[in-house]
């Protein structure tokens, strides 16, 4: 396998890199130190010039986000790191938090300086016990070394970082849902505008950045914006972590330059599918992304615009491989249950629509489908997406329904007409 440039995983294989002493021996916190000598605007400019885009799923330019924060020195500003990784098929932030907690903290110090923040939080999903323990220990060690706390590195800059433990809710990965959860309420997303950069946590300016996004910042500062732009494409600069899962020979998390062919990820790096299985479909960016047929997948490149061309999205980088033996009605049953279960219940189209869609898929799967159900699924999915709700969960729930039904329509029709499908052998009703 060819060696690909590494930004995030550059030091991943160094033994004990999660320890502060080892991290520092390998250049750790040098960039935080350098950033504190620079003007905040200068730091933001480098990140803006690098073209780094948010790695949580939406792909919003990071430097531009930072620049929205008001420069009013009297106002408290917050940096909120989103470590609520819950998009099905995604397991990249967890690796960074567990194995490289100091890389994330260094990125956060730099970002905090850029937006003039002195109190930051890392919101980690409650299930990630090891990530929480790794970051709590890392923060404690930073205090001992004067890397966090008052007068960091002898400068005038103060910063406290706290770990906040989630409690099991997918919606808290949505930035305003995360803020609600931090504020001690249900994880209900809020109407935007105002955007968090203007009125976020405690109605004060707040920047919410994904773990992977922040972890890329130290490298960018060290090597410069142009060096980062050497990787990836013009619209998707840099590298990205891709999580390959499903019945392939080498599942795992891989750092690759954006624009990498999906085909090569599955067949070269992933070693192809397990014996006797053929590729049927691929979900390129977590459960929310529209599914690609095998034919489409072979033509797709892994960058924001490459996925968009194919009518889907890069999302979180969770690449799920689906073999020819998988019944698509069954798979949609799993996905539609997830969104029904995770809808926060605030907006009617989402709360009702996700439930209806799952019920209809359930009846099709269990021999109770009616001929009109295929069109009904498409109608509901169309009617709940496109900005009819406060957040994008409704869209995320609608896209799989729409794409599975359109691209694998015959399987849905067969289930309804023949009351069976030769792929659906699983009979335990869940």
């Amino acid at each position: 396998m060819k060696d690909f440039p590494k930004v995030l995983f550059e030091r991943l294989e160094i033994p004990n890199i999660h320890k502060i002493s080892v991290f520092q021996e390998h250049g750790g916190y040098q960039m935080a130190k350098r950033a504190l000598q620079m003007a905040p605007e200068e730091v933001t400019k480098i990140v803006t010039d690098s073209g780094l885009r948010g790695r949580g799923g939406a792909g919003f330019p990071t430097g531009m986000k930072w620049s929205f924060v008001p420069k009013d020195a009297s106002k408290i500003k917050y940096l909120l790191c989103n470590g609520d990784e819950s998009e099905p098929g995604t397991f990249k932030d967890r690796i960074l938090m567990e194995k490289m907690p100091h890389l994330l903290l260094e990125g956060m110090i730099i970002a905090a300086h850029a937006i003039d923040c002195h109190r930051a939080y890392i919101y980690i999903r409650g299930e990630f016990t090891e990530s929480i323990a790794a970051l709590e220990k890392a923060i404690e060690d930073c205090h001992t070394e004067n890397i966090l706390g008052k007068n960091i590195f002898g400068t005038k800059f103060n910063l406290e970082i706290h770990v906040f433990k989630g409690a099991g809710a997918y919606i808290c990965g949505e930035e305003t849902g995360l803020i609600s959860s931090l504020e001690g309420t249900k994880g209900w997303p809020k109407v935007k505008p105002p955007f968090p950069a203007i009125a976020g946590f405690n109605r004060l300016p707040s920047i919410v950045n994904n773990v992977e996004t922040l972890a890329a910042v130290p490298w960018i500062l060290k090597n410069g914006a142009q060096a980062y732009r050497k990787f990836g494409t013009e619209k998707s600069p840099g590298t990205k972590l891709f999580c390959l899962s499903g019945p392939v020979k080498n599942p795992g998390t891989y750092e690759l330059p954006c624009g990498f062919p999906l085909k090569d990820l599955i067949f070269d790096i992933g070693g192809g599918l397990l014996d006797d299985l053929n590729l049927k479909a691929v979900i390129p960016g977590g459960a929310s992304a529209k599914i690609l047929t095998a034919e489409e997948a072979l033509k797709t490149t892994l960058c924001y615009e490459g996925c968009q061309t194919m009518g889907t999205m890069l999302g979180s980088g969770g690449v799920i491989v689906i073999p020819h033996t998988q019944c698509m009605v069954d798979l949609l049953h799993v996905v539609s249950y997830f969104f029904k279960d995770e809808s926060c219940g605030q907006c009617t189209p989402c709360r009702e629509g996700t439930g209806w869609m799952h019920k209809i898929v359930d009846s099709i799967l269990h021999q109770r489908g009616r001929p009109e159900d295929v069109q009904l699924l498409l109608d509901i999915s169309e009617n709940i997406q496109g900005g009819r709700t406060i957040c994008a969960l409704a869209d995320a729930a609608a896209w799989p329904v729409e794409s599975y039904v359109k691209k694998f329509k015959q399987e849905f029709v067969d289930h309804i007409e023949k009351k069976a499908c030769n792929l659906y052998k699983y009979s335990a009703s869940l």
């Binding site: 090891e130 099991g168 997918y170 001690g184 309420t185 499903g246 599942p251 689906i322 799993v334 995770e342």
Partner: protein
């Protein structure tokens, strides 16, 4: 029955104050602490947390009921949560769940008679490259087969 934190838990609760600019943010950390202390969030516990934070009980209940990791009824000594999302489902986690429920003769989310286990499905646990994945209390287990899970469950002390 009235409940109250041990001195150690009370000390931890008091430390939350310094973490936030708005005292309301203490609710979720306090609920986590209360669950660790009392096992689950009974009505008495909800009332106690509400009094500590000077919030209405209904508000505390509203938040407690929103999150799946917060238990409103008691759970077994070992809580087994099996991922049934896309990749794990394709790698036979639903069969694993059905097998375990049958073997222990218990319904999903209910406790076994000996109060040792509660089994339930969980959404993506972020371990899709090692599917099927599950958690038992705070520990992850990967590439789990029914035989492997039987052995794990047998090895856990009552």
């Amino acid at each position: 029955m009235k409940v109250s934190f041990s001195p150690k838990a009370l000390k931890e609760f008091n430390s939350f104050e310094g973490l936030f600019d708005n005292p309301k943010s203490r609710l979720l950390p306090t609920l986590h602490l209360a669950q660790r202390e009392f096992g689950h969030l009974s009505t008495e516990v909800i009332d106690y947390v509400a009094a500590l934070l000077n919030l209405p009980s209904a508000k505390v209940m509203q938040v407690a009921s929103f999150y799946t990791m917060l238990h409103k009824k008691s759970v077994g000594k070992y809580e087994v949560t099996i991922c049934t999302n896309i990749t794990c489902a394709m790698m036979k986690s639903r069969e694993l769940l059905a097998h375990t429920l049958k073997k222990l003769n218990v319904k999903e989310k209910d406790m076994t008679q000996d109060k040792k286990f509660t089994i339930r499905r969980e959404e993506c646990l972020g371990a899709c490259d090692k599917a099927p994945a599950l958690r038992i209390n705070d520990t992850y287990y990967y590439n789990v087969t029914p035989e492997k899970l039987d052995k794990i469950l047998e090895s856990l002390p009552s």
